[in-house]
């Protein structure tokens, strides 16, 4: 039985080992559910100048202006025409909301600490340095993204 006052911490614990998985091509990535706010369907972003190509622009999320990043481009993969499966995952990082455009969102998986493996240290390509851990869920391999590393180049300006 769960004690009343434990509920909040239980919720946190509940989120702890959970990852929202999404697809880029055939690769499955995971992002900690803690960071995820919501998933919305793709919408037209207003382009802004002077930003890297992976920042597709800004969208209006119920009156809030939110920048959106194309994860494919961020991972230096080829651009692909958005279809009805393309989604925007809205995540929060350092109190700022950012939208991530992904090919499609699949499911929320719970991963035991034991099933997590550290990403390889050697031979890391530029994409792999964004990874926090690698998990095997059933037969699938999920690459878990470290949000802080992922956004590092966009955020380090404020951190100097």
């Amino acid at each position: 039985m769960v004690m009343e006052e434990n509920i909040v911490s239980t919720v946190m614990d509940d989120l702890q080992g959970k990852f929202l998985t999404f697809h880029i091509e055939d690769t499955i990535y995971g992002i900690e559910l803690l960071h995820v706010i919501e998933i919305i369907s793709i919408q037209n972003a207003t382009r802004i100048p002077n930003v890297p190509t992976y920042i597709k622009g800004i969208i209006n999320l119920r009156g809030k202006i939110v920048p959106v990043i194309d994860v494919r481009l961020k991972f230096k993969q080829s651009e692909r025409v958005y279809d009805e499966k393309t989604c925007i995952i809205v995540v929060v990082i350092e109190d700022m909301q950012v939208g991530l455009i992904v090919d499609r969102v699949s499911e929320v998986v719970t991963v035991d600490q034991a099933e997590l493996a550290n990403p390889p240290e050697l031979g890391t390509t530029s994409n792999e340095k964004y990874l926090q851990s690698i998990a095997t869920v059933g037969e699938k391999v999920v690459l878990n993204i470290d949000c802080h590393k992922f956004f590092h180049s966009d955020l380090n300006y404020t951190k100097i």
Binding site: I48, Q97, L155, T158
Partner: protein, 696 residues
């Protein structure tokens, strides 16, 4: 807030607000007086009034250290008021002392707002003030002595306050012809009887020619409350009006339980010498209290219709109005209405538009405050630092009446302070150096504000040593701030490096500047309110910082223009005119192929928006699109877009903080806005567009 009576906490905010305002006034008066080396009679009265009010209200809050300090300042000015000539005897130190006193009170008030406030001891400043009072008195002619008895008597009260036995209170008052005496009792448990008694006296002052009480200064010592509870508060007055009217005032006064009219000469016929002297002092006191009441009354007359409002409420109101404006345009230009003939509807929406416009103007004007407050603070910094660093510097302020949004006003205070300190500390040379350079010994810092086309342009310039580009360069190199070969940096780029994070040219950390947080913090603070900063400098001649801040953060009248699929908003204030080019011959080409257009004998460059923002699917033929002439303070240019969509009021939203790193503001955009249909439009910054063009 341990030292504050819990019942008082509701009044704390009011007290803090009131005292802060008064202290700012005091600073202003003192700076002005110090400059002119003379305090006018009006200002002496003003200082007296300010100190008196602070004394009263802080005593009410139970803040003894503040009230006793205010009291001793009041004492000093009591003497000055009686004999202004005496001020000369202490003019050297009185200003410093007064600033010290005002700083002390300010610090105490700041402390009050923290949770672990413990009152500090003000007795050292009081001691110094008493010394000054003594100097003035010592030199006073013999005849003036009786007058100065009052300050001596009261000057000692702060000390006595700690030992609550000030009141030989029933000493009594000499009663003479025409005097009336009333013993007043206040309601049980109404608290602060001494202050209520003081308020009663204030109320009666207007009606009485002479006024006296037992105990004589009820407001000065909260321990008198118990005396007043026990023995009642005895008021003695002489009036030409009908005494009955006075009794009415007493009767109607707040918290008065009962009063009894004492027979004249009924008691206290035998008087001792001290009582007599106390009586004479009090009559003097009455005289000046009257002067002060009229000052207060005059002030009340002009301020009657003012109320102070919590700023969060104003912010809320502003947000709501913003939403309302968006909602209004959502309704008026609803896509469902396209193609319908709606005469009445259009009439009504026009009416609505008019009202929202007006509402918006009013809300904006509520939030506008003049910059003079910020400028005033700078005056104070220049003065204090000038003394400490032993540099003679004059601060000239121009355009202090320029008004900006309150939020902006609050945000720019710190950056300005920092910049003025920088100028004082690093830029202005010592007097000897200045002499050697053939400059006037007194340095000069100019702070000028002006309102140019929806923007406030503030310049901070000094005639100091200027920026040393070689030094900046080597420092930037050391800190790894360079992004391209050293030789490719222009002087302007080098100067602007001082605003990069982690840059501070002064090796030695001084009290005032050079803590490693430098101009980058200034820049960030200014960017927060949509401002920009640039710097120009000439070696040994001076440095000028130019700061541009939008007048208000919130709503602009904009013209929607389309370029390709994108919609941009151009603030109407920067549009001069728009026109179509019918004859391609109007367009002339510069040697480098850039386009210009001839208008009424003048030639203007054409900026193609689709080039600036690299939009592919836009109209490229100049004769098919539209040309809009834009201007800022100094330049005029034409921008080329596909078409004008229409005028709309838009709520300016800053770009998401996430994008701060990318300096979008340097690309001719000042922010973004949500249009009626939910899409986002980027707001063009004419100034920036022009400067980009200039750079090319």
């Amino acid at each position: 807030m341990s030292s504050i009576d819990p019942g008082m906490e509701s009044m704390l905010e009011m007290f803090i607000y009131e005292s802060t305002t008064l202290l700012e006034e005091l600073d202003e008066i003192m700076l002005e007086s110090e400059k002119s080396k003379d305090i006018s009679e009006k200002n002496i009265n003003e200082i007296f009034r300010i100190m008196h009010t602070i004394k009263g209200s802080s005593a009410m809050m139970g803040l003894e250290s503040i009230s006793s300090l205010a009291h001793s300042v009041e004492d000093v000015f009591f003497i000055v008021r009686e004999n202004p000539a005496k001020l000369k005897e202490i003019s050297d130190s009185i200003y410093d002392l007064l600033f010290q006193a005002s700083d002390f009170i300010k610090a105490e008030i700041d402390g009050l707002q923290t949770d672990d406030y413990t009152p500090k001891d003000s007795s050292s400043i009081i001691g110094l003030l008493e010394e000054q009072a003594a100097i003035m008195k010592g030199a006073a002619p013999r005849a003036a002595v009786p007058v100065t008895v009052a300050p001596t008597a009261t000057a000692q009260t702060p000390k006595q306050q700690s030992v609550p036995k000030r009141a030989p209170a029933d000493a009594g008052i000499s009663t003479g012809d025409g005097y009336h005496q009333v013993r007043v009792f206040f309601e049980d448990g109404c608290q602060m009887e001494n202050i209520r008694a003081f308020m009663l006296l204030t109320q009666m002052k207007d009606w009485c020619d002479e006024l006296d009480s037992v105990p004589p200064h009820p407001e000065a010592d909260s321990s008198l409350s118990s005396v007043i509870i026990d023995k009642g508060f005895i008021v003695k007055f002489k009036t030409t009006a009908n005494p009955e009217d006075i009794y009415k005032i007493i009767e109607n006064s707040i918290n008065v339980k009962s009063y009894e009219i004492l027979e004249t000469k009924e008691e206290n016929v035998s008087q001792n010498a001290t009582a007599a002297s106390s009586a004479s002092t009090v009559t003097v006191q009455v005289k000046d209290d009257q002067g002060q009441t009229s000052a207060i009354a005059a002030k009340a007359g002009s301020k009657q219709s003012l109320i102070s409002v919590n700023q969060t409420k104003l912010d809320q109101l502003m947000d709501l109005v913003g939403e309302l404006v968006t909602a209004e345009s959502m309704v008026a230009s609803n896509p469902d209405l396209k193609g319908l003939v709606l005469d009445n509807f259009n009439k009504s929406t026009r009416e609505l538009r008019k009202l929202t416009d007006e509402l918006q103007d009013v809300v904006m004007s509520i939030r506008m405050v003049p910059l003079s407050g910020v400028f005033q603070k700078m005056n104070r910094i220049v003065r204090d630092m000038g003394k400490k660093l032993n540099k003679a510097v004059e601060l000239e302020t121009i355009g202090g009446d320029t008004e900006v949004d309150k939020t902006i006003n609050d945000t720019i205070t710190d950056p300005f302070m920092h910049m003025i300190r920088n100028s004082m500390d690093h830029a202005i040379e010592s007097a000897e150096e200045r002499r050697a350079l053939g400059k006037p010994e007194t340095g000069k810092i100019t702070l000028a504000a002006q309102n140019i086309g929806g923007e406030i342009v503030i310049t901070i310039s000094d005639d100091g040593c200027g920026l040393d580009s070689a030094k900046i360069m080597s420092k930037a190199k050391k800190n790894g701030l360079l992004t391209k070969p050293e030789s490719e940096y222009s002087e302007k780029e080098i100067f602007s490096m001082i605003m990069l994070p982690g840059f501070s040219t002064n090796e030695a950390v001084t009290e005032y500047s050079g803590r490693g947080v430098g101009m980058d913090v200034v820049r960030k603070n200014l960017e927060k309110v949509g401002g920009t900063i640039s710097v120009e400098s000439t070696r040994n001649v001076g440095t000028t910082f130019t700061i541009k801040i939008p007048l208000t953060l919130a709503i602009v009248d904009g013209m929607e223009i389309s370029v390709g699929g994108s919609i941009f908003t151009l603030p109407i204030t920067s549009i001069k005119q728009s026109f179509k080019i019918f004859d391609p011959k109007q367009v002339i080409y510069n040697t480098d192929g850039s386009e210009m257009i001839m208008l009424r004998g003048e030639c203007f460059p054409i900026i193609r928006l689709h080039d600036v923002f690299s939009i592919d699917n836009a109209i490229k033929d100049l004769t098919e699109g539209i040309v809009i002439q834009i201007e800022n303070a100094s330049q005029v240019a034409c921008i080329f877009a596909d078409e004008l969509i229409g005028e709309q009021q838009v709520v300016v939203k800053p770009f998401p903080a996430f994008l701060n790193r990318y300096n979008i503001k340097q690309c001719g955009l000042s922010g973004c806005t949500i249009l009626g249909d939910g899409s986002i439009s980027l707001i063009l910054d004419a100034n920036n567009l022009l400067s980009i063009f200039e750079r090319q």
